[in-house]
């Protein structure tokens, strides 16, 4: 075996051991990630059209403060943008949709 | 209204010690379950000023207090508003009794 | 894919201490703005004479945004001098029939990412409307002769 592939193998076994070591946090984080994915999906579904946080919350059945948190996060990572103002609220929409 | 600080020395005999530590922030009045005007800070302020006539204007007010202790618990200055109300009750009861004897 | 809608070039004179790091912050936030925007780093824009701005327009620069530090200017008195100079540049632009909106004096700080993008976008809208520098003269001529 070449030294490069030997190293690769070493990393692989190392990672396996590390995963075992951090099993608990990894499981918890994985669960959270799955939840997050679902919520993001639900929110993004609503964001095909420009809409406000309370409207998303209502339609998706997610508490509004949580919706706002995800919208802020999605905006930060370039997936959502602010469109315009609707009364006291702002409307957001997914970048892909626009 | 004229200030008569001597009055407080009388109150001390009825177990009041901490009233001057109040800096009149109003927490006691707003936290009091009675929700009654400026009560109890009003009485604290009158006690500080020695405004005996004001206290005796409507002494019944003193007995509204539930003695629940929330004002004392939340007082930012540990001025023990509850202690003053109780002390004033004692002062007034004592006065009533003495006036009766006269 | 060439963006054919880009109507011309925008020069941004950005102060070293505020606006230039502000433009960098736009990049760090991975925001986007039209690519016809060229940011030049300057210690203080008070350095440029009136002629510099006019020459830029002559050379074909469609618009200039001066992004200063505003009141936070580290050079005492420089900002006031700059503001006065820009007033004179506006006069000269008017004399030459240049739309004064092609030159804008703003203040942008190190973290004003949104303000930066807003300024750039607004200027792009404007030059789309105005066309290349100098074309106003013809319009004016037309207007006067009419």
């Amino acid at each position: 075996m070449s030294s490069a592939s030997l190293k690769k193998l070493e990393i692989k076994t190392g990672l396996k051991q590390l995963r075992e070591l951090r099993k608990e946090t990894i499981t918890a984080a994985t669960t959270r990630m799955k939840e997050q994915k679902q919520i993001i999906k639900a929110i993004k579904n609503q964001l095909q059209q420009p809409t406000t946080v309370p409207a998303i919350a209502e339609a998706a059945g997610i508490p509004p403060h949580m919706v706002l948190w995800y919208v802020a996060a999605l905006k930060k990572y370039g997936e959502v943008k602010e469109v315009d103002k609707d009364g006291c609220y702002f409307r957001y929409c997914s970048i892909e949709a626009s | 209204m004229a200030v008569t600080p001597e009055f407080f020395e009388q109150l001390e005999r009825f177990g009041v010690a901490k009233t001057f530590e109040c800096f009149n922030c109003g927490t006691c009045a707003a936290i009091c379950p009675l929700v009654y005007e400026h009560f109890p800070r009003k009485l604290i302020r009158y006690a500080q000023l020695g405004a005996l006539d004001r206290i005796l204007e409507n002494p019944k007010e003193l007995w509204r207090c539930l003695h629940c202790g929330l004002c004392t618990q939340t007082c930012p200055r540990e001025a023990n508003p509850g202690e003053l109300i109780l002390g004033l009750r004692r002062f007034v009861v004592d006065r009533w009794r003495r006036s009766q004897h006269v | 894919m060439k963006d054919t809608t880009i109507p011309g070039k925008i020069l941004v004179l950005a102060t070293e201490s505020c606006a230039y790091p502000g433009a960098d912050a736009v990049g760090q936030a991975h925001l986007s703005y039209p690519a016809n925007t060229y940011v030049l780093r300057v210690p203080s824009p008070v350095l440029f004479p009136e002629k510099f701005y006019l020459d830029c327009f002559d050379k074909g620069i469609s618009a200039i945004i001066i992004m200063s530090c505003g009141v936070e200017c580290p050079y005492e008195g420089a900002y006031d001098a700059l503001a006065q100079r820009i007033d004179r540049v506006y006069q000269l632009m008017r004399q030459r029939g240049l739309d004064v909106r092609r030159l804008r004096l703003t203040a942008i700080c190190t973290v004003c990412t949104r303000a930066f993008v807003k300024e750039v976008n607004a200027m792009n809208e404007l030059i789309k409307e105005l066309g290349p520098p100098g074309t106003e003269i013809e319009l004016q001529d037309v207007a006067q002769s009419a």
Partner: protein, 643 residues
């Protein structure tokens, strides 16, 4: 007159500029959006460019080695790196040039990550990157080597004012081995602290504190104390100031400060005299002048207490209305033989203290003394001083009742809120008034024991009017800047709207004045308490010490430079220059003939370029940022190399 030779031919013969352009992939950060190879090819065709290369990471060692190799082999003598923002790696690549034995300023940075690949995509990104690289190359071809301006400094500092701030600054500097001249106009050391008794909130004795501090100063051989001395002349720039000083002598002193008017007949050096300060020796009888060569000057000229106007809260009208310093002095003078504090033979049973006298004044509400501005600022120390005084009275004379009338209690500092609470525990009674309705002081009617009566609309008592009898009314007066108009004029010191000296920036350069080498310490800058003033003094000392530590200062090379050949001596630049002393017209003999030419004092020049814009012949430029360079950059951007 300066002699210069201008040889036009020499300039023409300048070395050939060969620019090397080095483009960074940034591991895909740039190369994913910018066609780096195409960019490199186009850069190679740009005017003046001798070499164009790419690398995965320019900032890595191999990347930098590549540049060094090209430089050392003579392929290039100017460098452009196109990579991330200059704030990250400009200094890295300047260092690269230095390591290759080149002047670090022969470097120009092209920002194609933060301002290109992270904000634009596809072909426009590559086009913009091309233009920016071409612009950088155009500037690089016009770069000249620069050297930091190095100025020798005199390792000596001067401190003006011997209050606690001045004393502390002098001590700190001396501890770093810097000789210090400490200049004080009175015969005493200690300033206003000498007038205090107990210092709130820690209750230290002012006398002990001053004795301790001055002993260190007097024992410090590196400090020369000049009492009875004023500064009468000032010249020079950072590192090389000349101060003319005048010893006033006994005759020149204010009546109150004369040595012979002091309570002790034979004052000994180092002895603390209450109200006066620490004695340093006797004042010379006759005036004398001298001069001091110094590298840095710390201003510690202090404050003076606000003097109430006649009738302000009854001041001057009623003898029982006094200022806090007066009351502190009187109380300190009590020997404690009476159980009651007596003032001019009268017992003080009711004492009132009124806060914010001469501070926090509001236009339209307060009146200023004639010719003076309103003191809109808070004097910061009076709340604690009043409370400390109130506690002292209550604790030493429990018979005396104390009433305080305040707008806001500002016990902000460490131990101060505790001082306020202690006053409450001591049963000091507080009243709160609005600025629009201040307490009224009137003579008490007959039959009353106390001579004065105070009426106040008390917001703590639901806005009712409350009357308090008073035997003595103490006005907690604020701080005013000391009268130093002569120094302000002479040293061109900036003064803020509050009358105090104005620092360059409260956070970036809090103890510095725009004139490099001049520093601020203590209450000449703003009201402060003792701890804050000594902190400010130490902060000023550390700046002075930093300036003087190496025996020279290095200033940025980016200052104005005059091309004497082009300069026609219009003087427009001098008018435009915002900085006193940076530019002047001077007689210069060019090739033997005298001309008026602009002359830059690099130590003063800020490098803003206000001069550049107004020169009709473009004879003046900021080194490293010349107008020609900018014009070349604009040309390169317009030229559209990519098209």
């Amino acid at each position: 007159m300066r002699e210069v030779q201008i040889d036009s031919a020499q300039q023409a013969q300048a070395e050939e500029k060969r620019v090397g352009v080095y483009i960074c992939h940034c591991g895909g950060n740039i190369s994913d959006h910018v066609d780096v190879e195409a960019l490199c090819a186009r850069a190679g065709q740009a005017p003046g460019v001798a070499v164009a290369r790419t690398h995965m990471f320019m900032c890595s060692d191999p990347g930098q080695e590549m540049i060094i190799k090209d430089l050392q082999e003579g392929k290039v003598n100017r460098v452009v790196v196109a990579s991330c923002a200059p704030s990250l790696h400009e200094s890295t690549f300047r260092g690269t040039l230095q390591r290759a034995g080149f002047n670090p300023y022969l470097y120009e940075h092209a920002n194609i990550r933060e301002q290109v690949s992270w904000v634009h995509h596809g072909r426009p990104a590559t086009e913009k990157a091309t233009a920016l690289v071409a612009a950088a190359a155009a500037k690089a071809a016009r770069l000249e080597p620069l050297e930091p301006i190095r100025m020798d400094v005199i390792r000596h500092a001067t401190v003006i004012g011997a209050g606690v701030a001045g004393l502390q600054a002098a001590l700190d500097l001396a501890s770093r081995g810097i000789p210090v001249a400490l200049i004080e106009k009175s015969p005493f050391l200690g300033g206003h602290v000498a007038k205090l008794d107990n210092i709130a909130p820690s209750n230290e004795k002012a006398s002990e504190l001053l004795t301790r501090l001055t002993r260190q100063v007097l024992d410090q051989p590196a400090i020369t104390v000049h009492t009875c001395t004023r500064v009468v002349g000032f010249a020079g720039c950072v590192g090389n100031f000349t101060l003319r000083i005048k010893v006033d002598g006994e005759q020149g002193q204010d009546e109150g400060k004369k040595l012979h008017s002091m309570p002790t007949k034979t004052p000994r050096r180092g002895v603390f005299l209450p109200q006066y300060g620490v004695v340093t020796g006797s004042c010379p009888e006759n005036p004398a002048e001298d001069s001091i060569e110094t590298g840095a000057v710390i201003l510690a000229t202090g404050f003076k207490p606000y003097q109430p106007m006649f009738g302000e809260y009854g001041y001057g009208r009623h003898p029982q209305v006094v200022t806090l310093p007066e009351a502190i002095q009187a109380l300190a003078g009590e020997n404690g033989s009476h159980p009651v504090w007596h003032w001019h033979g009268r017992p003080i049973r009711n004492l009132a203290i009124i806060h914010c006298v001469g501070s926090r004044q509001i236009p339209g509400v307060h009146e200023a003394a004639e010719g003076a501005a309103l003191n809109e600022y808070c004097s910061r120390t009076c709340c604690s001083a009043s409370l400390g005084f109130a506690n002292q009275v209550r604790e030493n004379y429990p018979v005396t009742r104390v009433f305080e009338f305040y707008r806001d209690i500002r016990t902000y500092g460490r131990g101060q809120e505790e001082l306020y609470q202690r006053a409450s525990k001591n049963r000091v009674l507080f009243f709160r008034f609005e600025a629009q309705e201040p307490p009224r002081i009137e003579s008490n009617g007959t039959g009353s024991e106390s001579p004065l009566q105070i009426t106040v609309k008390d917001t703590l008592t639901f806005g009712e009017e409350v009357q308090v009898a008073a035997d003595l009314v103490v006005l907690a007066v604020g701080m005013k800047p000391n009268g130093i108009d002569d120094l302000v004029e002479m040293m061109k010191l900036p003064v803020g709207s509050d009358g105090f000296l104005l620092e360059v920036h409260p956070k970036l350069r809090p103890v510095e004045l725009p004139n490099s080498g001049l520093l601020l310490a203590g209450t000449c800058q703003a009201p402060m308490d003792i701890g804050e003033a000594t902190n400010a003094a130490s902060a000023a000392a550390v700046k002075a010490s930093g300036l003087l530590a190496r025996g020279f200062v290095e200033l940025d090379p980016f200052v104005a430079e005059v091309n004497l050949e082009q300069c026609t001596g219009t003087g427009a630049c001098v008018v435009a220059c915002p900085r006193d002393g940076a530019l002047q017209l001077a007689e210069v003999a060019v090739n033997g003939k005298p001309f008026k030419k602009a002359q830059v004092s690099p130590a003063f020049c800020l490098g803003c370029g206000a001069c550049v814009a107004v020169c009709p012949t473009n004879a003046i430029n900021i080194k490293g940022w010349t107008l020609k360079q900018y014009e070349a950059m604009v040309d390169a951007i317009v030229a559209d190399l990519a098209a």
